[in-house]
């Protein structure tokens, strides 16, 4: 059974009556999470790649312009109240800035008691207290060091773990983590990633890890989706995509990672280094590959039509005409095969 699926979802902003500019934030992206085989999937991309929009689509916070999001086979758009409630419980999220997620007006208890009360998880005060303490301990926190405090009295790491505890209260099947460590210090980053890993390992919770940082994506996840301006540029197992990138954009990205090793200098993989500086003038609307005007390997056909995904390996596909000799594959098919 597929737990959570995005089926060729597209999200267009600014298609109102008054505005002329349309922004295709997410462009026919498919993604699948299998209920029986929990895994960690990374969605990586730079700012403007549509990764946060995709996250909000998956959480049902915004509606897709085209395509659909399915939870256990059922389209979110056609769900009734109780089905939506169930979806809400099972698909949870943690966010980038562990300070911003707290309402400064309340003690941190409020973010924990609200879900318990709204979803009627506990029959009594005592049960509520017990549930909260359990989930805090699961997230690696001591209840008496955290409850009753205001967010600014806690460290960044504690704040982020309380968000994990909040999600765990609802006993979800999927947690979407939107840049969970980009705002915390290096020394805490590892600890938080460790506890996210444990959720999958010990509780069987699937994780969608959204990030701009390929190194942590490599470390934590099994599969990765590289997004470029709303489209999937390359998808596959992290081992292959990051250790041996095929799409010119992925190569550029991997090549630009500032590795903490003075002996591996930037640009050691030299073949994409001639990429022009222009950070992406918009190409003719709707035509051609979105990366064409930055691509050192650009060919005539790149300007004519958007490349489909070509399956270059069993568990990897690339949207680039350089690989047009390989068989093409649909986004959904690829996503399902990775999840299987």
């Amino acid at each position: 059974m597929q737990l959570l699926e995005a089926q060729s979802v597209t999200k267009v902003f600014g298609s109102g009556v008054l505005s002329k500019d349309r922004l295709v934030a997410v462009d026919e992206v498919s993604l699948t999470i299998n209920e029986e085989k929990p895994s960690i999937i990374s969605i990586a991309g730079e700012s403007g790649s549509g990764k946060t929009t995709l996250a909000r689509l998956l959480l049902g916070m915004i509606q897709p312009s085209d395509g659909n999001i399915r939870f256990r086979g059922k389209d979110l758009a056609t769900m009734d109240r109780s089905e939506r409630r169930e979806f809400r419980r099972q698909v949870q999220a943690i966010f980038q800035d562990p300070f911003e997620v707290y309402n400064p007006f309340y003690r941190i208890d409020q973010v924990l008691t609200t879900p318990v009360r709204k979803f009627k998880l506990a029959g009594s005060k005592e049960e509520e207290q017990r549930l909260i303490e359990e989930s805090l301990q699961l997230a690696g926190l001591r209840p008496n060091e955290t409850l009753g405090r205001y967010p600014h009295q806690l460290s960044g790491g504690q704040r982020q773990r309380i968000m994990v505890a909040r999600a765990l209260l609802l006993n979800p099947r999927v947690i979407l983590a939107d840049e969970p460590v980009s705002m915390v210090d290096a020394s805490l980053r590892a600890t938080i990633l460790e506890s996210l890993m444990k959720l999958k390992r010990d509780l069987g919770i699937s994780l969608i890890y959204i990030t701009h940082d390929l190194t942590t994506a490599y470390q934590i996840s099994k599969d990765i989706y590289i997004l470029y301006r709303g489209s999937v540029a390359e998808v596959g197992s992290v081992e292959q995509v990051i250790k041996d990138p095929q799409h010119p954009y992925t190569k550029l990205l991997v090549n630009s990672i500032p590795l903490p090793d003075p002996d591996i200098r930037w640009g050691s993989q030299n073949d994409v280094d001639q990429a022009p500086l222009t950070s992406g003038l918009k190409s003719a609307h709707g035509h051609g590959c979105k990366f064409a005007n930055r691509c050192p390997f650009v060919m005539a056909e790149c300007h004519e039509k958007q490349p489909p995904l070509y399956r270059t390996h069993e568990d990897r596909a690339v949207a680039c005409f350089l690989y047009k000799n390989e068989p093409s594959v649909g986004g959904r098919e690829m996503a399902e095969s990775l999840a299987a």
């Binding site: 020394s187 805490l188 980053r189 600890t191 701009h212 490599y218 470390q219 003075p262 500086l277 950070s279």
Partner: protein, 337 residues
């Protein structure tokens, strides 16, 4: 001598070695908060060689930005420089008059600020902001040479001349950061302080901007202090790294050595926690919390979190000493040798 500052008699004791373009001695900065006095920079000493790239890393609250700004005396009101010396080419910047310091800024020591997104005045065209900067340091005339210099620096940071007519909001983040770099090298300063110059940029643009910065710096022969928290960026860019923890400098070493053989236990844990493409699913964090500067621990700042803590660590503050050539560390583990 500073090019723009009238020659000042230099105390014999402050006479510095010729191989140190910038020599910071016992710098102390504190600020007053509602809860009491906080010492953000605590007795920090280091030096910078001509044409050298020094990285200053630290987590949030380690005092790295406060220190960078205090070198240029740009601290805002509750923060006060309590003492120490900042010798730029032998002249103590902290002893200059306001007007002398103003003239030294940009001409001798320049800042490339954090958050280029908001560092340009949104109401003025880029050209006007560059012109303002040159004019502030000119006593008279020279309009054509001024314009020529502006086009020069724009070209050297790979920007088109047309950006002089653009407002900041019309530029991309990377372009704005390039404008800030152009601003920094406008008057060929001896020292450039770059405070997290790429923290808001994507990795691809970050790399391009840093490569530009590196190139103009070596063309100019200026020294650079790169302030930041990203060890990866340090590994790629600098010659030496200084590690700050709780307002103190705990280690200063050449970049290769610090990654291969970190000395201070904090540096060791920090390097160990970095994600690499070498290992999967293997996370090593540093347990414990960053010290509160309001109620700092006694002795060594790191002793509450230190796995190799010695009995006298919580009593005695370890000084920063050179234990091997060019390797400075502030830790009692190395006191004996």
């Amino acid at each position: 001598m500073l090019s723009n500052v009238k020659t000042k008699p230099v105390d014999v004791r402050t006479k510095t070695r010729a191989d140190r373009i910038l020599d910071v001695r016992n710098l102390r900065v504190s600020y007053q908060t509602g809860g009491g006095q906080v010492r953000a920079v605590n007795d920090v000493s280091f030096f910078l060689r001509p044409s050298e790239r020094l990285g200053l890393v630290g987590e949030s609250g380690s005092g790295k930005t406060t220190m960078a700004l205090s070198l240029m005396r740009l601290l805002q009101s509750p923060a006060v420089i309590e003492g120490g010396q900042v010798l730029l080419d032998g002249v103590d910047l902290l002893s200059l008059s306001e007007e002398e310091m103003r003239r030294a800024r940009l001409a001798d020591i320049a800042l490339i600020p954090q958050g280029a997104m908001n560092s340009l005045n949104p109401m003025l065209k880029v050209g006007e902001q560059l012109r303002d900067a040159v004019t502030a340091h000119m006593d008279s005339g020279g309009k054509t040479s001024r314009e020529a210099r502006i086009f020069d620096v724009l070209e050297s940071v790979e920007l088109s001349r047309n950006v002089v007519n653009a407002y900041p909001h019309e530029l991309s983040g990377g372009m704005k950061q390039r404008v800030c770099i152009a601003m920094g090298i406008l008057l060929k300063p001896k020292v450039i302080i770059a405070d997290e110059p790429t923290s808001a940029l994507d990795v691809v643009v970050q790399r391009q901007v840093m490569e530009t910065l590196g190139r103009v710096q070596s063309e100019l022969g200026a020294s650079i202090i790169l302030v930041g928290h990203d060890m990866g960026l340090m590994a790629q860019f600098v010659d030496r790294v200084g590690v700050m923890y709780g307002g103190k400098l705990v280690e200063v070493s050449p970049v290769r050595e610090i990654f291969k053989d970190p000395l201070h236990p904090y540096t060791q844990l920090l390097i160990g926690s970095l994600p690499t493409l070498e290992s999967k699913e293997n996370f090593k964090g540093i347990s414990g919390m960053t010290p509160s500067l309001l109620t700092p621990p006694t002795g060594c700042m790191f002793h509450p979190r230190c796995p190799q803590v010695l009995p006298h660590c919580q009593v005695e503050i370890p000084p920063l000493v050179e234990i091997k050539p060019d390797r400075w560390v502030a830790c009692h583990l190395y006191n004996g040798s």
